[in-house]
Symmetry: C2
Subunit: 232 residues, 2 copies
Amino acid sequence: MRVRVHPLPLDPLPSAEVMMVVDVIRATSTAVMFLEAGAGALWLTASLEAARALRQNGELLAGEVGGLRPEGFDFGNSPREALGAELKGRTLIHATTNGTKAAHKAAQVAREVLLASLLNAPSAVRLAASLGREVAILCAGKEGQVGMDDLYTAGVLAQGLVAEGFEPVGDGVQIALHLAQKPALPVLRASEAALALEREGLGEDVDFCARLGFSERVPRLLERRGEALIFG
Amino acid sequence: MRVRVHPLPLDPLPSAEVMMVVDVIRATSTAVMFLEAGAGALWLTASLEAARALRQNGELLAGEVGGLRPEGFDFGNSPREALGAELKGRTLIHATTNGTKAAHKAAQVAREVLLASLLNAPSAVRLAASLGREVAILCAGKEGQVGMDDLYTAGVLAQGLVAEGFEPVGDGVQIALHLAQKPALPVLRASEAALALEREGLGEDVDFCARLGFSERVPRLLERRGEALIFG
């Protein structure tokens, strides 16, 4: 049983049985909270336009422009906002650039794709370990740059898998494991993703994203429909 | 005064006044030792063929195939071997894939390009700080993957620049600074680059590459001649 970490979704991405996609500030944290709030399905799309085009009857739209909820959308990309919603059985169409791009790459090379964050890390580790012996953690990064928040989260997930008997393989997982020895909140807050949110007055979302094990929900890729990836 | 770290030479590479290129196991460590041993100039080329083609009269060839000295070459890519050589005034043509690729990218976006390693880290930091106010550290990586050995060395260089009053900017430098809090030898030895050398019986080179401040020589890009980058 082996675990690797890819700090960025670069080509060619090595295959794995199970791939956990991490965009912790905030796409995969928010995705977890949509399921926690009762959503029946989560469709990931790469753009606001794609999300609008997919809406047919009653789906809710989530996304962001500069950190905020776009015109005509039901939700921003905020895990705190998702927590307070009543979404029982509803379908969420969630537009997110870096996270969706990474999830598409994962879907091309892995049998199982999960969305992971600190919020669902213990449950994501248990599910990944039950689904395969070769697990990879794919960091979404920000516009092609390595994100410290994602790499830290990858390290926490890798710690969990190592505790389950997985062997860490490669430099990516070792860098992540070193980073994960630090406490979550100062590392996350110092990341560029967090600083950008702070500037928009959304710093509380960063603190929320650091709450380890808040949810047991793990979005799992069920199917692909056109450009959308459907998780449940 | 600001310092950034790029964990990989990805496009587009942001510009900087001074860029320090790191391929610590072993290209930039060996380059430093060639100058330390008295070489008058060091030509970096991306392939063995390019190195052979550039030899005109009396230049020495260095390079590697699977860690070892290629047929017809004077040196492998070993800093220990370079240390023992008498190279007074000689020109070395040094073929190295990842290091040369990174140096070419650096040369496109920076006014000054230096080769850095742990061996020359204190001197490289002083020279970089004297040459500009915007310094970037570019990790060569291994075949497009982030190398823990390079990122660790980048962290040590960044520590030195921070001590000189530079502000660390971006997630790359923060990840590197966290990593550089560890002792050098165990981190370097655990890297994939080191494990590959160990398998070839060249583990002593890794220990040599970890000797902080062994040399005061800092290869500095002087000019470009065709596909070769000339350092002195």
